[in-house]
Structure formats: C-alpha cells, structure tokens
Symmetry: D2
Subunit: 343 residues, 4 copies
C-alpha cells in the first residue's frame, strides 16, 4: 500500500535517529532539566532571534490543552474556526479542561477579523464566557497557509482587543516553507505558538514557545499535573537538536511540500477537482465514491466527508513520500477514467 494517510507514519527521519544513537551513552538529568534540553532551546531561540520561553511536549493535543487551560481562566474562552483541530479531532480535550471553544466560520480554512469581531460584539456580561484567545492552525486544517501579512493583521487586531493569539504549529514547518515566513515572524506575530516535530520527522515532540515568562507562569507545575512532563525529557530535546542544529527542519518540510505541489499539478492535468490551492503538504480532492473505492485498493488516505454523491478525500505527503508514489496514484486515476469512458 502507498500511503497518503498522514505525516506521522515513520519512526523518525534517519537524521533524527542518528542523533539518538549519538547521545545514547550519556547520563542526563530528568524532567527536562538537562543540558540536551537546554541546548535544543538555545538552537530554537537562535532561529526565533528572541528570548522565548520554550517547553517540549510529546504531542499536539496535549500541547493544545496545556496552553489553553494554562493561559485562560475557567470563564474565558478560545475562538477557533469550526474545523479547528481542537474543535473536531481532539475528543473534547479543551472542554475537558473546563474551557469553552467559541466557533466561527472560516474562509479557506483561515479565521477572519470580521468573524472574531462578531464574537466580541455578542459576548458581554457575566452570563457569558469572555473571549480571550484566538486559536489558529498554521498550516490550517484545510491545507492553506497564513501569509506573513495575514498574521500581522490578525495579531494587531488581537492585541488591540486584548486577545491572546495562539498558533497551533503541528505543521508549522510546511507553513514556513510555503509562505516564506520565518520563525521570527511567527514569534513576533503571536503570544504563543508551537513548532511541530511529530509531523515533521521527529519521533515525537512539539516545542511550545511563549513570547515571555509572564505568559507561562507555573507551566512546569501544570505540565507535571497533566502528565505532560516526560521523565526522560532529554529524549524530546534530542529531537529538536536534530531538527535545528542543521536546517533539517526546513529540508524535511520542503520535501513534503514539493511532493504535494507535484501531486496537485498532476491532479489538475487530469481534471480532478482540488479544494483550495494546496499550499503545504495536504491536498483535498473531490471524487466519486466509485473512484474512491478503486483507489483504496492500493492507496491509504482519509475520507473526510460525503455530500451529494461526491466525496472529499485528504492526501497527505511527508518527507519520505516519493514522486513515484504520486505517479502511481495518478496512473490509477487515469486507468479508472479510461474504464468509465468505455461505458
């Protein structure tokens, strides 16, 4: 089977495994109080070019719930687009920490200032939660990417209104490569964001970066309390040393994006309907149920939804996807198209 299922289907990029083997004979302090973790933080701060407060957490859902419950009071709420990962695919993790998500419609997967301002207008008084944070994913759940200018406008608005801006960067590498924005741009245009390792070649690990220490008071206590503090924290540090001691982080994301781009252009050539213009490593297409069933025999991908006889499927590329795999996929569609022409 050829997989376009997701970007977390390998143990890790080989370069990352080399680092694990390299450090395998040392002894280190526990709970992220070690020199490898510190070195990883330094490497990231060098990229950010500012003195962010950094913590390493094993996965995205845990990171989202940690950041949101830690920054918001119980009666403060987080604004997200309807299809936001925290609202759809995290089994109510945010609500389980006691926080409400206020949802708004998106435009191409992105949040808009207009939608946020509508929420602010409709929330007042002690019978309602207080909107206090805007959550966005970059790259978005729709495969789109915020431009640097969009982020600047959004963050300016958030600051004006006293809202935190939190960027879920589970796929931040692909977003940066696609948009040309830098980690410094992300830092400057948010209050907190995270750099996804799990979906970009690491064994596991997300690096949460707070603008300053006043935004993460008690965060280590809270991590321990939520089971988010790994005893062997240095294993998380190693992932990010591997990604940022060289430009591996960007290289891996670029590989994923390049294949996705090739995939999209090949699909267009054969008249397959593509949703949004794929900017990062996710391609969403509309196909018939019959075609989907044929493709499932040799390819892994996700069926998102079905409407009026057409299905949306998601194709994800990753650093170790192959151009030949795309070719095989295109061939399979072509063969199907030939078949149905016969009738």
């Amino acid at each position: 089977m050829i997989s376009f299922l997701n970007d977390y289907n390998t143990i890790a990029a080989s370069e990352v495994l080399s680092y694990i083997n390299k450090y395998s004979t040392g002894k280190y302090c526990g709970y992220g109080q070690d020199e490898l973790t510190n070195y990883a933080k330094e490497l990231i701060r060098k990229e950010i070019k500012h003195d962010a407060e950094i913590f390493f957490i094993s996965g995205g859902t845990m990171t989202n719930l940690m950041v949101i419950q830690s920054m918001l009071k119980s009666y403060e709420a987080c604004i997200s687009v309807l299809e936001g990962h925290i609202n759809t695919l995290e089994t109510g993790a945010i609500e389980n920490t006691g926080r409400k998500i206020l949802t708004v419609p998106s435009v191409n997967g992105k949040i808009t200032v207009e939608a946020i301002s509508e929420v602010l207008k409709n929330h007042h008084g002690f019978h309602m939660v207080i909107p206090k944070m805007v959550y966005i994913s970059n790259a978005t759940e729709a495969g789109t990417v915020y431009t640097k200018e969009e982020l600047q406008e959004l963050y300016r608005y958030c600051q004006e209104k006293g809202l935190y801006l939190f960027i879920d960067g589970a796929r931040l590498g692909t977003a940066l490569v696609a948009s040309g924005a830098t980690l410094e741009d992300i830092y400057l245009n948010s209050d907190v964001f995270y750099i996804g390792g799990t979906k970009n070649g690491a064994m596991f690990g997300e690096a949460v970066c707070f603008k300053n220490s006043s935004l993460c008071e008690g965060f280590l206590h809270s991590m321990k309390q939520h089971g988010a503090l790994m005893a062997k924290g240095f294993n998380l540090g190693i992932q990010f040393i591997a990604l940022f001691e060289t430009d591996l982080f960007y290289q891996l994301a670029k590989k994923a994006n390049d294949i996705a781009s090739y995939l999209a252009s090949e699909l267009k050539k054969i008249k397959i309907d593509i949703k949004n213009d794929p900017e990062a490593n996710q391609v969403f297409i509309s196909i018939t149920t019959n075609l989907r069933k044929v493709l499932e025999k040799n390819f892994l991908f996700t069926l998102m939804d079905e409407k009026d006889g057409l299905e949306t499927i998601r194709l994800v590329t990753t650093y170790n996807s192959q151009f030949a795999e795309v070719d095989a996929f295109i061939s399979a569609i072509k063969a199907f198209q030939q078949d149905i022409k016969k009738y």
Copy 2:
C-alpha cells in the same frame, strides 16, 4: 418602570409565601431527607402518573450542569441548538464540568431530527466525542413550544439512536399550558426533564425528574459535591407543595401566557414585527433603535441583538404582569409612531 424584563422579578407568588409561613414553626431534617420534600415529590409524581426519581435544585444553570455531567462520561457530548441556554447564557457551565456541547441550527428555536442525524453521521472514532444526549428547552429560548407530537417524534428518534433526551423546563409551565401537553407526556417522551419553579412563582427551585433510578446513580453524592444540595432542603420542598397541592403551577403559567398573547395581538394591530408566533410568555419584536430608546425610559426589557439598523428586543410576561402594563406599552409605541409621522 414597567417590567417586561424577565419572569423572576418577585420574591414569590403570594400563595407560595403563604405555604412558607404555614410551615414556619416546624423542625425538619436536613438535605432533603424530610417529610415536606417527600410530600412535594409525591405531589409531582401524582401529576407525572409514573414513578420518577425526583430531586430539587435551587436554579436552572445548576440543574443543567448537574444533569449533563452526571449522565455523560467525560468523552460524551450533548447536542443543543446554537441558541440553547447552556450554549449561550451559562458562562460555559457545561464545559466547566468537562463536557462538550455540539451545536446545530434550530428551526424556530427547535431542534430537528435532521440536524441531530447530521451530527451523528459526522462523529465516529476515538478522535471525536460521542454524541450521547440531546438537550432541548421547552418553552424554547425563542419563545416557541414543542407540541406533544414533536416530542414523541424526537424521543422516538433519540431512543433509536441511543441518545438521552433532556428537557430543560425552566419555563415548562408555560409550555404545558400553551401546548396542552401534560407532565405525563413530558415524562413519557424524555429521559430526564425539570419543572421550573423559579420562573413560575416560586422563590427558587427546579424539580429534576429522571425516568428511573438507573439514570441518576450517585446523584445525591454528586449534588453535594457540586454545592447543589441545600442544607435546608425542605425550603425547596415547600415551593413545590405550594405549586402542586393545588393547580397553582398551571394557573400562574396561564396568567403569564394570557398576557403575552394579549401583548402579541396588540402589537400586531399596530404593525410591530413579531418574531415567531409567541406561544408562551416571551415575545420577540423587531424595532428601530430610536423606538427602543424611547421605550427604555419607562419599560424594562432585553435587547437581544442588532442587525442592519433593526433591533430585536425580548418582552417577558409573568404571573403578575398586568393587562394595563401592556396597554401602557402599546400606547408608548403608538405615541412614537405618531411623532415620527409628523416629520
């Protein structure tokens, strides 16, 4: 000032106060383990005509959060219309107990089987919460009322799909009087509901009725844990003795509905735009900002929202509203209408 603000602006109906005075010399057990509480439950069960498990709680938000957190596991969710009270005006009380609300659009304030089935279709797998309860308000937040047939259809669907049906009856009295449904109908067509006292003449108090004891295991423990168990529980019992030893509960609701009905018909005569056909004790009208400002000088009501220069305001009647108060309101509008004609 004449108040159309809400239906909880008096200490209690005079009949209720008489009962309080009547029982004032006795001594009673604490925490609802007393004979007055038991007698109140008996009176309600007589109305329900079945052996419901009944608990008394001081207010609606507490009742909603108690029922939902108690019946659902942490990863199970409650479906509600967008404007559902639990979703808008309870400061995230449900989420604060760790439960997610899944929202759907309403038709005239009511939930539809179609909307629920869409939610069920889109929820599967362990990345998503499990829809397990449907929450409705009767009367609804839009002032409409479910017919007995609508409830039957809804409950049949819920049972087929393994969903609990929970009826928020903060204004159940007005709904029953308006629709002709009985408490037995409500009992038969839901798993749990509550009978609102606070908005129907009591000092405070809602009577939660579970279909059977398997649905409320540990509920007393949970009430105590959430601060929902009043030490002087007999004070709650007295409210419901007062409401149900005679037909006071229905009388008070009928008074509120009759005035609302009169208000609506008078408003129609003077061409004021009424939202939905008011069925219970809430009337929603669309007026200009100028008219609203004039009315505010002598009347209390709630401004719901504003769109394109027109405002929606809510007018609530209650058992002690007066026909003369409606007349004064109508006169004020007429005077305004005369004034603007002059220009």
Copy 3:
C-alpha cells in the same frame, strides 16, 4: 423528638420571615444586581468597617468550592486540619474543582503555625503542589473558637509566607459571640471569609467577604459558571438585611451559645465526659453505646465515631433550642444512670 441534631432545622427565624413578607410586593432586578442586595452589602460593610467585596451564595459547600477554586491556580493547594469540613463532609467538592487539600493535625480543632510550617518545608519543586491558602473554620468542627490573638498570629504568619487565609464562617456568629471578636477583626485578619446565614436563622445564604477586589476578579462569572448565582438574588439579600439591620445576627447566635453553655454545665454536674470546653453551639460528649441507644428514643443528635466501646456524639443547639429541652436531656441521662446503678 427533641433535636440537638443541627442548626439548620427550621425554615428561618420569625424575624427573617417578617422581612420576606415585608418585601414581598416589590419587583427587583435579577442575579443580585438589585437594591436589596446592595443594601444588605452596605449593612455588612458597616459592621466590617471596611470596603470589602461581598457576594451572597446559597450554602456553605458551594461557598467553599467557589472561593478555593477561584483564588487558587490548578497546581496550588489549600492547607486544612484533617477534620476540616472541606476535607471530610463535602463529598470531595474541592478536589472536584481540581484543587488538592493538604491536611495537618489540629490542636483542639484548630490549625497551628507549626503544622503549616511543616507543610511549607516539605513542598518544593514542580513535582509538588504549591501550598497557597490556609483554610480554617471558625467556630471549628470541634466546637472551639479562635481568639482574636490566635487569628492575628495566624494571619501574620500567612502574610509572611504568601499564603491566603480563608475563614469558613458557617458558624461565625457563634464564634464572634463566644470570643468577643468583631466582624472587623475577622476582616482584618483574613483575606476572605464568609458570614454564615443558613446556620444562624436565615432561610439560606452565606455572605462571602473578600478583602479587596483584586482577590475576586471574575468572581461573578465564576459563580454563574458553577450554578452559584441565584436568579432571584434579592432573596439572599433580604436574609442579610434581616440579620444585620438590627443586631439579630448576634442575638440568634447568643441564644444558641447560651443554651450550649447551659447544656455543658449540666452535663458536667452529672459527670458526663465533655470533649474540649464547648465555646460555641456544639457540645461533644463521650458516652456508652447503651446510653446512646436509650437517648435516641427521644432525642436527635449525631453519632460521630466509636472507639474502645465509647462513642462520641455531637449535640448542636440553635437559636430556637429551649432550656427545657436541655433539662429533658439531662433527666434522660440521669434516669439511665439510676437504672445501671441498680445492677
């Protein structure tokens, strides 16, 4: 049956009911935003002689959980004596809000600086909760009362160590009458406390007093979120107008204390073993199981525990206890003592 069971067995003191009747024809704003509530706050502030922030809540467990969860972060903890009400008789209400209680042994029901300092010494680092609040009950669960000097010493220590001091005043009236301390003393020697109405003649209601507004940010939102905000908040206000427009609050507490004092002295005369020297309205005695069974036929009281054949029972007096009821109790014991002498 004669009741020494508790101090919340009547609807309310007759004076309180008079106030309810007096205000019964008015119309008031909801959710404590009304003039009666404001007037009640003024009356209390006059007693406190400082500008406390005051909120009314229906009962003690709700008040405890509201204050503790609101003032503490999730990883901060509350120190209490082992027998503290929050630790024993509130069904885990504090833990249900996510906060840990750190328990220490008491001396005569009171907390000591030594015990607190031991907790502080043993808590450090992010693997442990941060002790941040001291919770005491006054009167205590053992029926004892803190002197003004004890409170001063305790509060001085708390301030030195950065700990909040929270006084559960479910029985504060009896404590003030017993110790001669004033509400001003309580205010000056704590960060937050509450004045119990439920156990001192009110229908329900506790008045929480925060030293200043920085200690209760968002408290109204949090009350609504926890179901602690009564729609008819004015009913709470009326209770405290009744208690504080005159010196009724102190009168009722004095009655309860006087009877308890008489009860204790009579018990001593007949050689019944009394635990602690009763200072407020609770008397704890050690008796045999046989005696307890005899007394149960005509008296209500609480069996606390049993050890080595002797049982501790709790006798509570209240404003409407009668001296004659004490006499009857003493006579019953005497009769039992006569009976067993015969053998």
Copy 4:
C-alpha cells in the same frame, strides 16, 4: 559525577535502541492501531497468560491519572498510603481530574487491610466520597516489595469490599525479580496494573493492563481527550517488543536489584543505617548533614528529608549502574569516617 539519582537517566538500554533502528524503515498506522503495537500486546499477554486489555502510555503520572479518573466516578475516591506517588510527587494530578485521594499510614511503605478497613468504616452517606479503589505501588516508594501472599490477601479483601485494586508498576520489573512473583500473579491479584518501561530501560512507556474490557470502556477516547494518545503509537509498541521478545525486561531489573543489594550489604559493613531492608533498586540511608555534603561532591542522589540532625537520602540503582560505582561510594564514606575519627 556518579549517579544514584534515579532510574531514568539514559536514553534507553542499547537493546531497546537496536529495536528502534531495526524497525526504522517501515511505515505504520497512527495512534496505536498498528501491527507493532499489536505484537507488543501479544508478547505481554503471553507473559500474563490471560487476555488482558492493554494500552501504552508515555509515562507514569499520565498513566495514574488516566486509570483513576477513568475507573472512578467523580464522587468516588482512591485510597493510598500517605507517601504514595500520586499523593506526593504528581503535583495534584489526581485531584486535577476531580478525584479525591484518601490517605492512610503505611507499614514499611505498604498499605494494610486494617488501614483500609478504617477508611471504609468512616465513610458513609452522601456527604462523603465513596472509597472505591486501592492504589499501591510495587515496588513501593519506600523500596519495599509486596510478596505474592500479601497481594493475594489484599486483593481478596478488595474484592470482598467492592474496591478496585490498582498497582502502579513504575518499578514492577524490580518488584517481580525481588519477590519471585510473575506477571500472571500481578494480573490475578489486581483489577488493573501497569508495567513500567521508563524506569527499566525503555525510552519511555508504561503498559497498562486491565483485567477485562468492562474495566476500560471508552479508554481510547479518554486517552485522546487527555493528550495521552501518541500519534506515533508504534514507538511505544517497539519499547515493549524490545523488553518482552526476550527476557530483557527481567534482565535489566535484575541488574538494578543486584547492584542495590551489593550497595546495601557494603553499607551495612561500614555501619551505615539503612531504612527497611532494601528489596528492589532503591536504598534509603540515614546520614549526617556533613557526610551528605561531602558525598554530594562526587555523587548524585536525592535528599528525602531531615529530622533531628539526621538526613534520609535515597540511592537508586539501574541496569547500567556499576559495581565499581558502589565501591567508589563506599570508599568515600569510609574516608569521611576516618576523617572524623581523627578529631
């Protein structure tokens, strides 16, 4: 520096790293739905000799909070010895999920049936939590180990009383090797337990084993909701394949125990006071502050507490501790002893 600090100071045992490298070229399904995870479960079930339900979680605190919040209702509580890891060193993780811990004194770090029965006797009625689970650590926090007979007696009692028995097996390997009990014994004498990987040579990972599926309904949903479900779940599976495809799990534990045993016997020879008889890989000794300060120059260990001028320090051995490291430690003490004799 020579480390007796803890048993999680290396990336992983070299054998475990070999397995990671071995599987590094494959592609696997996400979230533990892959063949490696399944294979790991099979290997463990083979050891258990019964059909346990198994889940892999990254660390111990997360596992404890997942199991306890999942098996207990909000008003049910967990009994633990005072020094239980969940009560002392997890920053209130259990309380943060809303569950109360009821603490009892231990005997040599172990819980007793007497202590549990005392808790049961004192808990009744809806004002108190319901004790529903017993939590023990094996090996205990005091370095002791439950014998098979002790576990049998304890579990028999728990079953009789309707209590779940949950065994925290963060150091289960060392406990099994020390006591001669098998994984089957552990399975047969508990409702749920976990096999610690993190402290026994794995990069991370604990294997939670439920007696049957009725005890873990919805556990995957709950894991996702708490951020406990790793995207690359197969990385957890690999750890346990490495530990259980051969007898590596037991070998590593035996190494740790053997060194600890040697350490203890050498310490006894030089008259150092040892707390409990060390049975697994933790040795607790009482020394003077002066000696501790001298040792700190070359050795890492944990200062547990201080009393009357004597300090308790914890020495932990692990699979890669060396006999020579013990010799160095003993020599350092001897040198100190010589020095002080001179005066």
